[in-house]
């Protein structure tokens, strides 16, 4: 965990006082709504269909137990007893009253949590791999670099009024769990032939109404140059990005219009002028940030302890273990994913009681550390294998041990028309109905890894373009319709899905998805060929023929 200092705490306290005053002035009429709206948005406060929504940043998806407990407290005291984890590793409270928001924010600020950089045309909360610091796959802990970017970008005056919002994601593992190729800037941390750490820099990725996979503009950027190079990118974007049309204002449009080569050339020219300046990261600066990450004092343990071997005789435990437990870099330890997708429940939601349970489990077994993944699940990154059986029993008792991680009913869904003022169609009930079709988890396991992503509008908060099966809600003559795409993926082989055919009605979606999956089961080369690989091998046509013949 990163340890905040007195400066951070004082800054947040001042920020809450400032917002409290702004709310008082708004409620008294001293501020108009036009004056107040940008101020509330800079603190993560949106006005949705039925209520205000508070979006809280979880920097690089890392939380401690006290922070999660405080979120449970906010959910219980100021909201309706639950929170929603989002595809950007944030949490949203959907029912907060404006007059109570300063109190809720003050409670969160006491544990170092806030809504800054969760809204507005600024550099948003930097995201990364939820397994950071724990997975043996990584070459370094990407959170070090995310934290450097956080400190650099927070309230940066030059980048507070960008043409549009700006999202950065970092991965340090070969398998990309952070969807870096569909971010405004994606950073792939790796070592060069000399063993030095650096980033491959991708720009212009993104989803929304004009989706693009990011283009690589630099194969290797030494880590000490991270800030100067990012600043060069931001300056080129700030100077040339369009401000006349909100739909053409993201950096992806600029990169597409002038071409990645010309964009890279402009960045390199800008960078040459600033690379040796104040933004050059010295070893001392990096060491100071690195030193603020306090890693668990792991015990010297062996893999596969007797407690685990014995527990694996229990079929239910063994099923959960195979699905939700992953290899850790330290022997005798594991990474545990907690599914927030119990069949039929709103994806990504956790009740205040469940948050408290996870916080207690993190304290009891996981060095007090919790992660949030962009797949809208939680993670306990540092669990001793000997503790897995007891951890599972307590998760199971709290309804948090559904063994469906990465399966067909581990569905990513935006809030959709049930909450969101921008949505055209519902997403959560569609996810619930599809999940119920595959409620037999033996069947889901037989299907294998399959990511379904649902968005309630073209803004694509549910990342539907990069779902193995993507579902996009649209509105036609006052009715909800859904476009289906196949073959998208968000990992290191990121690509956008291909449209399957005409949009179908709300009622038709679950049956159509079931037909798509059944078609895959018939067409796959064998049990080891994943859905995404069958689509890659055959294209969407065989699916289209089968599915639309039935509908």
């Amino acid at each position: 965990m990163y340890a905040y200092d007195e400066f951070d705490r004082a800054f947040l306290a001042e920020r809450v006082d400032e917002f409290r005053d702004q709310v008082v002035r708004r409620l008294s009429g001293a501020l108009t709504e036009d004056e107040f709206k940008p101020l509330r948005l800079m603190n993560g406060v949106y006005l949705q269909l039925h209520a205000y929504m508070l979006r809280i940043a979880i920097p690089y998806g890392t939380l401690n137990a006290d922070q999660l407990r405080r979120m449970a407290h906010v959910a219980r005291t100021y909201d309706r007893g639950y929170g929603h984890f989002t595809t950007r590793q944030n949490i949203q409270f959907n029912w907060i009253k404006l007059e109570e928001l300063p109190e809720a924010m003050a409670a969160l600020a006491e544990v170092g949590v806030h809504g800054i950089q969760t809204s507005g045309n600024c550099i948003r909360n930097v995201t990364t791999d939820q397994w950071s610091g724990a997975t043996p796959e990584e070459c370094d802990d990407p959170r070090i670099w995310a934290e450097i970017l956080r400190q650099y970008s927070t309230l940066h005056p030059e980048f507070t009024y960008l043409p549009r919002k700006f999202k950065i994601a970092i991965t340090a593992a070969a398998h990309d769990r952070a969807a870096t190729k569909v971010h405004d800037v994606g950073l792939r941390l790796h070592r060069n032939a000399q063993g030095e750490l650096g980033f491959e820099v991708l720009v212009g990725g993104g989803l929304g109404r004009t989706p693009f996979v990011g283009k690589s503009i630099r194969p290797f950027l030494p880590v000490r140059d991270l800030l100067s190079y990012i600043e060069a990118i931001m300056r080129v974007y700030n100077q040339y990005g369009r401000r006349d049309n909100i739909y053409k204002a993201r950096i992806k449009i600029l990169v597409h219009e002038i071409g990645a080569e010309a964009f890279a050339k402009a960045v390199e020219a800008e960078w040459e002028a600033i690379r040796g300046g104040a933004l050059h990261l010295t070893d001392e600066m990096i060491a100071e940030i690195r030193g603020r990450f306090i890693y668990p004092a792991f015990q010297a343990l062996e893999d596969d302890p007797a407690e685990l071997v014995e527990a694996l005789k229990d079929a239910r435990f063994a099923t959960w273990y195979r699905n939700s437990v992953h290899k850790h870099k330290v022997p005798g330890h594991s990474i545990v994913t907690i599914s927030l997708k119990p069949v039929g429940a709103p994806p990504g939601d956790a009740t205040a009681d469940q948050m408290d349970v996870v916080a207690d489990l993190a304290d009891d077994y996981g060095f007090g550390e919790i992660r949030v993944g962009h797949e809208q699940n939680l993670c306990l990154p540092n669990i001793a294998q000997k503790d897995l059986p007891e951890l599972w029993r307590r998760l199971d008792a709290a309804g948090l041990a559904t063994p469906n991680v990465n399966l067909v009913n581990d569905i990513i869904a935006c809030p959709g028309l049930d909450y969101c003022a921008l949505a055209n169609a519902r997403a959560i009930p569609v996810a619930q109905e599809i999940a119920k079709r595959f409620s037999d988890l033996d069947r889901a396991r037989g299907i294998g890894r399959l990511h379904i992503n649902i968005s309630g509008c073209i803004n694509a908060c549910g990342h539907h373009h990069v779902g193995h099966i993507g579902i996009l809600g649209v509105e036609k003559n006052g009715q909800e319709f859904y476009q289906i795409t196949l073959g998208g993926r968000a990992d290191e082989h990121a690509q956008l899905g291909t449209l399957l055919g005409p949009a179908v009605s709300y009622e038709q979606v679950p049956g159509l998805i079931e037909d798509v999956v059944d078609t895959y089961m018939e067409l796959r080369a064998g049990p080891h060929e994943l859905f995404i690989d069958t689509v890659a091998r055959l294209g969407v046509e065989p699916f289209k023929e089968r599915v639309y013949a039935a509908h």
Partner: protein
């Protein structure tokens, strides 16, 4: 998708003016008494674009009670009761269409 406030006004039947209450964001409806009510039954209903524009303009004069006002379709049932005119407004009135976590 543009929010209703950003869309061109179309009046093809009965409409009302709706907004969110400033203090808590609750859905409110403009009444004929130039106030706001959380009860759609108390909403002022108009059927022409000119009347809708006038109702909206009056609602927007003061932004201390309700914010984000716009014109929304409603349906008048045979018994005279007023219902929301589309799915978005039905959800705003009745809440999410699934059971909330508890």
């Amino acid at each position: 998708m543009a929010a209703p406030q950003q869309q061109k006004l179309k009046v093809n039947g009965p409409v009302a003016v709706t907004a969110n209450r400033l203090t808590d964001g609750a859905v409110v409806w403009r009444t004929s008494g130039e106030g706001w009510s959380v009860d759609l039954a108390e909403a002022a209903i108009v059927t022409t674009a000119d009347d809708a524009i006038a109702l909206l303009a009056a609602a927007q004069k003061r932004d201390l009670d309700a914010v984000g006002a716009y014109v929304a379709p409603v349906v008048i049932e045979a018994d005279g009761s007023v219902k929301p005119g589309n799915l978005r407004e039905r959800i705003r009135v009745a809440g999410p269409t699934f059971e909330l976590p508890h």
